[in-house]
Amino acid sequence: MVIWIAVFAVAVAVELIRIFISLRKDRLALQALVKRQKELKYLNFLITAAISENKSIEESFPGYLNTLRETVGWTYHSLFRLDEEKQVLPIRFTGFLPDWYMQDFATRVQVRVGDVSVGRAVSSKQPVTINVTAVDPRFTDVKSLLGHVGYQSLTCCPAIGKLRTYGGFCTYSAYKNIFTLHDTQFLLTCANLYAAILENKLLQNYLEKPALT
């Protein structure tokens, strides 16, 4: 009888473990499902806005970045402009970054092409992901700033159009090791679409007001 009870107890324990694993799998699948839905929703928003809005660059891009944070997530987003003459990348638009950051960092510090993360992404024309900023050798120059800005990992993607590279698009997270390959690919898609929208708006503006430019 004792043996029978032991066998049953083991069977129940195995069942409980299986239920736990199954529930965990289900939770992960649901998380992935919700994430994909949010990403598609954002791409839908971006493409619809690109073809149906007639706003200027200044009006539209902060909205795109804010919506990305609201719809998909992460902590901050920023878009850097490539100044080809000086070979620097001043920050141009941010989503959810505080004002003091814009004043203290963005207006004084300009990332050089090839430096840090966004500079590397622009020069190599490939996405750059930094999983832990505190220990990354590429971040030694700006380590003093990291305590204030509150991000621990980031992914930067180049914004490349048909005619030129327009700059870089960075996404920051307050957590370490957060960016997956899927995230990087999604952010690169966003960067490609930003560049397409930007190029279209610049050409359209030039076409409409050539005398002013």
Binding site: M1, I5, F8, A9, A11, V12, E15, L16, R18, I19, S22, L23, K25, D26, A29, L30, A32, L33, R36, Q37, E39, L40, L43, N44, I47, T48, A50, I51, S52, N54, I57, R81, D83, E84, R92, I160, G161, K162, L163, R164, Q185, F186, L188, T189, N192, L193, A195, A196, L198, E199, N200, K201, L202, L203, Q204, N205, Y206, L207, P210, T213
Partner: protein
């Protein structure tokens, strides 16, 4: 002891039933994730069309066809560009999935609009008159009763989806997706095809501007600090 054993047995059976239900639920979720991943992958591939150095609309459409057909159920897409005025002939770009050709490439045929396309487009234009908005999507599931006198490949298609390619200024054209299955699109699928339509609109707009400006002027415009 007599009570404990049946209770334990019952607990195990209940757990098995619960796990079975959970597994089918999990499978459904995973299928949906896979489906959404496919859509995201297509959109990711399509986004590269804006940074490619292609020199004509035809080449851009070839890239779109290559990215789209790899994972989509739709067998053919037809892009019908709007003419500048009513008299001007509409340009038609018809791409077939490589599955049909078996030659490893999506096949392009241009030329005149066929009877089925003409009929469906007329339906859309009529509907659009009543409610015109960007990215309008229309689905057609049966036209057998219409006696259109279809011949050849036109008879193969059982359903079609048409997306109006409109921007803030005008309707640049329409894109028609044909399928051999009778499809009733859910909201997700409709939204996805609208996004693909949006990409077509952006590409058409790019070439519209490209045709209006010499290349050196385009570089000048692109180099303006934004």
């Amino acid at each position: 002891m007599i009570i404990v054993l049946p209770v334990l047995a019952l607990a195990i059976i209940s757990a098995e039933v619960f796990l079975f239900k959970q597994r089918s639920k999990n499978k459904a979720s995973l299928n949906r994730v896979q489906n959404l991943n496919t859509k995201l992958n297509i959109l990711k591939s399509l986004s590269y069309v804006f940074s490619s150095k292609r020199i004509s609309l035809k080449e851009d459409l070839e890239d779109i066809a290559a990215s789209f057909f790899i994972q989509s159920d739709h067998r053919v897409f037809v892009l019908i560009q709007s003419g500048q005025d009513a008299q001007e002939e509409r340009e038609v770009w018809r791409y077939k999935n490589q599955v049909i050709n078996q030659n490893g490439q999506s096949e392009l045929s241009t030329g005149k609009i066929n009877k089925l396309e003409e009929y469906l487009l007329a339906q859309v234009l009529e509907k659009n008159k009543q409610n015109q908005k960007a990215g309008s999507i229309f689905q057609f599931n049966s036209w057998a009763g219409e006696n259109l006198g279809l011949t050849g490949e036109e008879t193969r298609w059982r359903s079609a989806v048409i997306v109006s390619l409109s921007d803030t200024v005008s309707t640049l054209g329409h894109v028609l997706f044909f399928s051999e299955k009778e499809n009733l699109l859910d909201e997700e699928e409709q939204s996805f095809l609208s996004e693909v339509g949006g990409i077509f609109t952006m590409v058409l707009r790019k070439w519209y501007i490209n045709n209006k400006m010499p290349l050196e002027e385009q570089f000048k415009a692109a180099n303006i600090a934004w």
